[in-house]
Assembly symmetry: C2
Homo-oligomer: 326 residues x 2
């Protein structure tokens, strides 16, 4: 297996990504790694990965057009390397918009898919149970047929990544009734009902979405991004409140020692880093977007996600799935 | 001052609403209360409020048309009573959609306002600091000019309810840059910039919205409802995890005793009940929607919100504000 990695663009710089690659290599010495970026910063990877020099690093604020124009940038060189090496997966932590647009243009979308979607697993109340949410931000606007395509891609993802044979799919809406939602959501609900989409359970509110009964939560990119960011914000806010509660006085500090193991479990459940990266679904190749603020562990987990997707042939299965409908 | 109260429709039935009215009356014996519902259930209010019999109670699932047709229902009788008595505020805990539609038709909207919006104060990381979020669910779809009207209404609300002279207004979007968001959000951003809307700070993500720098968070009804429900869902999920963490064993239970005071503060910060009710903004009259699952304290707080809005002449100020622009 071959994986191409854009080493630049993470907030913590190449120190975190280099450490992440070394950790991944330790677990998977058989995988061929192509690491793209400022060669001078990638020397610790000598003997571990192919180092491909791409000195131009794009800022996180680079728009899609900036990325496409910057042919020598680490992200464009990574994509070219993926194509030339016929690599199985690509991983990067830079600007999502640029990465997505460049991938869509260079690798193309799966026939039958009109828009790529970003999918990521979210924690739920039930330990170990995750819910796949898509699209969490590839688009600002989606048509009902794009939302239906997301449902189809989400189902294959949940089957292969979560190992759930018959994943339960819901639409994120402002109420559980079929007539709730934007016109696009209402129409998507109608299409999914009419076509007897397997295990389509209807609409669900954000409040219930993480209770544990959902396997795939389908939404347009704008609402999905609001869902993602709000989840992160509240989880962070409550974590800080918990810390503050324990720091009140010496008694509460003692309390912390006693409750600590339970809190460790809670942190693990809520830990977004352990999910590592979001997959860019719908693209004709495995593409993983690591969090911009990935540390070494987070970046390693993102490469791990790419490895898993490639190993499970998720893209080939999607091509097959959309072919059957055509 | 006169307040009309629809006593039916709360999940816990009239026991909770009756107790809520009694508690409110204790604090405000001077306010004339008109309590509408099954008279047999409202006897404890004898001597405290005018009891208006309306035996027909609509289920929470009643659509807007069902409500309008049910002229003898508690909600329609409440609205008629408000008009006949020239009351200062109306409070109800039943179906939001029905209440909103009936109010819009019977009381009319403020000239210049195309759509009513539901506004509610949210807690932030900073103790005591709230952020007003609108629309959290009156509409499924909004135009850019409706979103701009929400900004205007939100500003007046924050000035009068929070007492912030120059409230900072943001648009909820999938990124902080002006070009982020749905076409409607992008256009609303453009209009607010072009017209030099006072203290308009641009777009903000759900992640940062509750950090404490925002006074008014403006969004379309669909995304706003996702924001509301997701916030509630994660807060509930984390609260349950905290409880579980403390129940692990005898040591963690001891820990709870020590950390308890800090957690009490946290619960108070996150407590949606203490905010009581959401105001239906844009209607030509003060209208408060209490939470469907209000207990006595929650229902009392909702009546308190109605009292405060009426006292501060929020509706008259809005009429004035929109007149100036015309």
């Amino acid at each position: 297996m071959k994986i191409v990695i854009d080493m630049m663009g993470a907030d913590q710089g190449s120190v975190a990504t280099v450490a992440g690659v070394l950790a991944f290599h330790k677990n998977h010495p058989d995988v061929e790694l192509f690491c793209v970026g400022r060669a001078s910063e990638l020397q610790p990877l000598n003997g571990v990965a192919y180092i491909i020099d791409a000195p131009e690093v794009l800022p996180m604020t680079a728009g899609a057009m900036d990325v496409l124009r910057a042919k020598n940038s680490s992200v464009m060189t990574s994509i070219t390397t993926m194509i030339n090496e016929k690599a199985d997966a690509i991983v990067g932590a830079g600007s999502t918009g640029g990465f997505l647009t460049a991938l869509t243009i260079k690798l193309k979308l799966i026939p039958g898919v009109e828009r790529a979607a970003i999918i990521a697993p979210f924690p739920t109340k039930i330990k170990g149970k995750k819910v796949a949410v898509l699209d969490i931000g590839a688009s600002n606007e989606n048509t009902s047929s794009q939302i239906v395509q997301f449902a189809k891609m989400g189902r294959i993802y949940a089957q292969k990544v979560f190992g759930v044979d018959e994943p339960k799919t819901y639409l994120l809406a402002n109420g559980a009734e079929d007539e709730k939602g934007t016109p696009e959501i209402k129409e998507a609900n109608h299409i999914l009902r009419e076509t007897n989409f397997p295990q389509f359970m209807g609409n669900i509110e954000g409040r219930e979405a993480l209770e544990g009964q959902v396997d795939v939560l389908v939404t347009g990119g704008f609402a999905g991004n609001i869902f993602l960011k709000t989840t992160e914000g509240i989880a962070k806010m409550m974590s800080e409140m918990i810390k503050k509660a324990f720091k009140r006085n010496v008694f509460s500090k003692i309390g912390y020692i006693f409750a600590n193991k339970g809190f460790k479990e809670m942190r693990e459940t809520m830990d977004y880093k352990s999910t590592g990266g979001a997959m860019l679904l719908g693209i004709n190749g495995v593409a993983i977007k690591a969090h911009g603020n990935s540390d070494a562990y987070g970046f390693m987990s993102a490469i791990e996600v790419g490895y898993k997707m490639a190993e499970k042939n998720v893209v080939a299965l999607m091509i097959e799935g959309f072919k059957q409908d055509a």
